[in-house]
């Protein structure tokens, strides 16, 4: 007994002191080697949101106990993913507050609150999705389009740089991505007629190093896909974090919808690089390749979803360098991430806006007659909620909306800086019905015909669905998979549940009482594995009972 007490005391010392070790670029590259930490928005540069921590398994998942809860002061539903570094959790709450928490106890070390400019006007919520870290510095984008460097130990701001003008509709809602000595961000604002871009900044000074416009300017390749001045306010925002391949030194970034959103005839052409994924040299921002999912998009199928990078074992023993992309337009794509070549694409939901993809992955578009319902609807077959790939099951998992459609109506729109530039509207398929919004209360007051949610497992080798877990309401939750073949996810109904990643069977669930609109993560402190997920305004952290 005495010996146990001594061991406990030693562990207390070891566990209660954060090492404050600097997060080097090498650590970020090798993040898979330290699964006790969650170092980037998507966990690793490959963005597979998969943990090799193995304490929690199907044998004991029903022994998960709530360890602590953090309640945000903001009433905005969490869309953030925390990062965890050596026992310290860094989390953002809306609109732009950062907190450092003891990841074991949930107590707060410091809180930094940034007050955004009143001119900021993010289209779809005053949200923030997280921070990036390099060394002892955190980086946060703000809804008034600033990038702020913050000391990770004290919470003091170090520098601040203006990325774009908030009064023109630009905002930063994504978690930045660190590559070497640069912090990379991209802008939201596709509903305001912005000209989107991805840009990189010196981590030490905030000086802009490069900028890649997601709409090519005059004389640049791709500019011919726009007419007249359409390119100047053509949208193509990029509001989620991209992925990075250290071997090729390429970043992969999903690009959003063209503007005006729902009037494609007002912007004839393919509207590059809207609704594409682009591969850029991380040092220079130069375009290596692009692949466009939805040319001349009439539906707001912006393609900002997370590109998941997978080295997939081929039959000849080699590894295929793939990108897996579950797109808002309802198709799942497999792309050669070295060249951008389309390999395979399959519908993961029932849809009617296209009749499949051709040999190069271009959709065979089937516009619906006026007044008819288009599937998927404006929120898409999936959206910002992160997917996961498990190297154990070799399956790709995503949250999907099924049976959900919109009736699109195009209207002529006149561009005016800082004003919404939408070009029409999406209506519900049922007269008097509703489009599922993020603000729904605890009572599900809409009809089944409006759609439902599901977790879908897809085999990248074939594009075929392996299993499906259906839910009543649509889902906005990201997905975490484990090396023990668990899949953690949640939904708008406020449930947080664990499925068997191999067959989709339900293993465990809890009611958290708030909408889950972010991705769960896993980390460990003092050798104990934790699962964290935000629901509503609270962050809930679980571990096996001791």
């Amino acid at each position: 007994m005495a010996k146990r007490a001594t061991l406990s005391a030693i562990l207390t010392i070891l566990l209660s002191v954060s090492s404050s070790a600097q997060v080097t670029f090498e650590r970020l590259v090798n993040a898979e080697d330290e699964p006790q930490n969650w170092l980037t928005y998507s966990g690793t540069y490959s963005s597979n949101r998969h943990t090799s921590l193995d304490q929690i398994s199907s044998d004991n998942v029903d022994e998960l106990d709530l360890q602590w809860v953090f309640q945000a002061q903001s009433l905005q539903v969490f869309q953030t993913t925390p990062i965890v570094v050596d026992g310290i959790m860094y989390i953002t709450e809306a609109p732009n507050t950062v907190l450092a928490l003891d990841a074991k106890l949930g107590r707060v070390f410091w809180r930094y609150e940034y007050t955004p400019d009143q001119e900021s006007r993010p289209c779809c919520g005053r949200v923030n999705r997280g921070v990036a870290i390099l060394g002892n510095t955190l980086f946060m984008g703000t809804i008034d389009a600033k990038l702020i460097a913050i000391d990770a130990i004290s919470g003091q701001p170090i520098w601040q740089t203006s990325v774009a003008r908030p009064d023109a509709g630009y905002a930063l809602t994504l978690a930045p991505l660190i590559v070497k000595d640069k912090v990379i961000v991209s802008v939201a604002g596709g509903e305001y007629g912005i000209r989107g871009f991805i840009s990189a900044y010196d981590v030490a000074t905030g000086e802009e190093i490069w900028r890649f416009y997601t709409i090519p300017g005059p004389g640049e390749p791709g500019h011919e896909t726009w007419q007249g001045d359409d390119w100047k306010y053509g949208g193509a925002s990029a509001w989620l974090t991209g992925s990075y391949d250290p071997d090729s030194n390429l970043i992969y970034w999903g690009i959003g919808n063209p503007g005006p959103d729902w009037n494609p005839e007002q912007r004839p052409g393919d509207n590059l690089y809207s609704n594409s994924v682009v591969a850029l040299d991380a040092d220079t921002g130069e375009l290596e390749w692009y692949f466009q999912f939805t040319p001349n998009d009439p539906y707001d199928y912006d393609s900002v979803q997370i590109p998941v990078l997978v080295d997939y074992p081929a039959q000849d023993g080699s590894n295929l360098k793939l990108m897996l992309f579950g797109n808002r337009n309802g198709f799942f794509y497999v792309i050669d991430r070295t060249t951008g070549r389309f390999i395979n694409g399959q519908e993961f939901i029932d849809l009617n806006w296209a009749d499949g993809l051709d040999d190069i992955g271009r959709p065979i578009m089937t516009p619906q007659p006026p007044g008819a319902t288009t599937y998927p609807g404006v929120q898409g077959g999936t959206n910002w909620y992160s997917p996961s790939y498990s190297p154990s099951t070799r399956l790709f998992y995503l949250s999907a909306w099924e049976g959900y459609g919109s009736v699109f109506e195009a209207q002529e729109a006149e561009y005016e800086e800082g004003r919404l530039f939408l070009g029409g509207r999406p209506g519900p398929p049922i007269p008097g019905g509703v489009i599922p919004g993020l603000a729904r209360g605890p009572i599900n007051n809409w009809t089944e015909a409006a759609g439902s949610g599901a977790v879908i497992a897809i085999d990248p080798a074939t594009g075929e669905q392996q299993w499906k877990y259906e839910m009543t309401d649509v889902t906005t939750s990201g997905i975490l998979t484990t090396t023990t073949d668990l899949l953690f996810t949640g939904n708008r109904e406020g449930y947080f549940h664990a499925l068997d990643a191999r067959d989709g069977s339900l293993l465990w669930r809890k009611t958290l009482g708030g909408m889950i609109a972010n991705g769960p993560i896993s980390y460990a402190v003092d050798g104990r594995q934790y699962i964290a997920v935000a629901a509503g305004n609270g962050l809930f952290v679980y571990a096996l009972r001791e």
């Binding site: 005391a9 106890l105 107590r107 004290s154």
Partner: protein, 262 residues
């Protein structure tokens, strides 16, 4: 050497107040809009009704610091009056039954609180003060400005925007008297005899969070400790004897020049 007499300075800025105040104003641009009488009256009202929560420096509520000149819930004077009168639902900010002169005075005082200091202090040369700060004063051994210095003591990057000249002057000669309670040092010993010392960042019934002498964030469970003491004296030395009056005035000028990043 420049001497500041804030009361006289404000009096010299007197203008007709009420009509200007009621008109929406650009945020943080209010110099000369308020009469000294309104400011003085507002200070009195503030001392009677606001100071218990917001504190004498205007920074007593977590996340709210009137000295920054930024108000989360209102930007215009009219908006501020509305907040003061109606309160903020679901927060500790209650509604208040104020007269128009009281509201006018409160807004005038809040708009000037950053420059307002009842004490009469001597402010020297900021450049010379920086030299003293970085040299003879050895301040950076514990304090941090920007990315220079230690994190052990409170960060001074924006100290000039959040503390008054009077309180800063006092901290140089009598650090304990002007130390904020949250910054108190903690001494803790666990069951094995390991000593933890550092500046308190947060504390609750069962745990305490601090930054230790090695600039590490430390979280302790009180039940695991055999000794836990919150020190009420500041670890900062008094500079009354080690720096001359001129040097202290120069350091004060330097500290007041620190207004934060960008």
């Amino acid at each position: 050497m420049r001497r500041i007499f804030p009361w006289f300075r404000k009096a010299a800025l007197s203008v007709a107040a009420l009509t200007t105040i009621i008109a929406p104003a650009a945020a943080q641009d209010h110099v000369g809009q308020y009469s000294q009488a309104d400011i003085n009256f507002g200070m009195r009202v503030y001392g009677e009704t606001c100071v218990a929560c917001h504190g004498p420096n205007g920074d007593g509520v977590d996340g709210v610091n009137f000295r920054t000149g930024r108000f989360r819930s209102a930007s215009s004077d009219l908006g501020l009056m509305g907040i003061i009168r109606a309160g903020i639902p679901d927060t500790a900010m209650p509604p208040g039954d104020y007269t128009t002169p009281e509201l006018t005075g409160l807004v005038a005082y809040l708009r000037n609180i950053g420059d307002f200091d009842a004490s009469d202090v001597t402010i020297g040369n900021a450049e010379r003060g920086q030299t003293v700060y970085e040299g003879k004063g050895t301040c950076a051994q514990c304090h941090r400005i920007g990315v220079q210095g230690s994190r052990v003591a409170p960060n001074l990057t924006s100290i000039g925007a959040i503390r008054t000249a009077g309180s800063l002057a006092e901290s140089l000669t009598n650090p304990t008297a002007s130390m904020l309670p949250v910054n108190r040092n903690v001494r803790a010993v666990n069951q094995e005899g390991t000593l933890f010392t550092g500046r308190r960042l947060n504390e609750d019934t069962y745990t305490v969070q601090l930054i230790d002498q090695a600039e590490r964030l430390v979280s302790l469970v009180k039940a695991d400790l055999r000794e836990f003491t919150v020190l009420t004296t500041s670890a900062m030395p008094s500079y009354e004897e080690t720096l001359s009056e001129q040097e202290r005035a120069d350091v004060l000028a330097y500290l007041l020049s620190l207004k934060g990043t960008n």
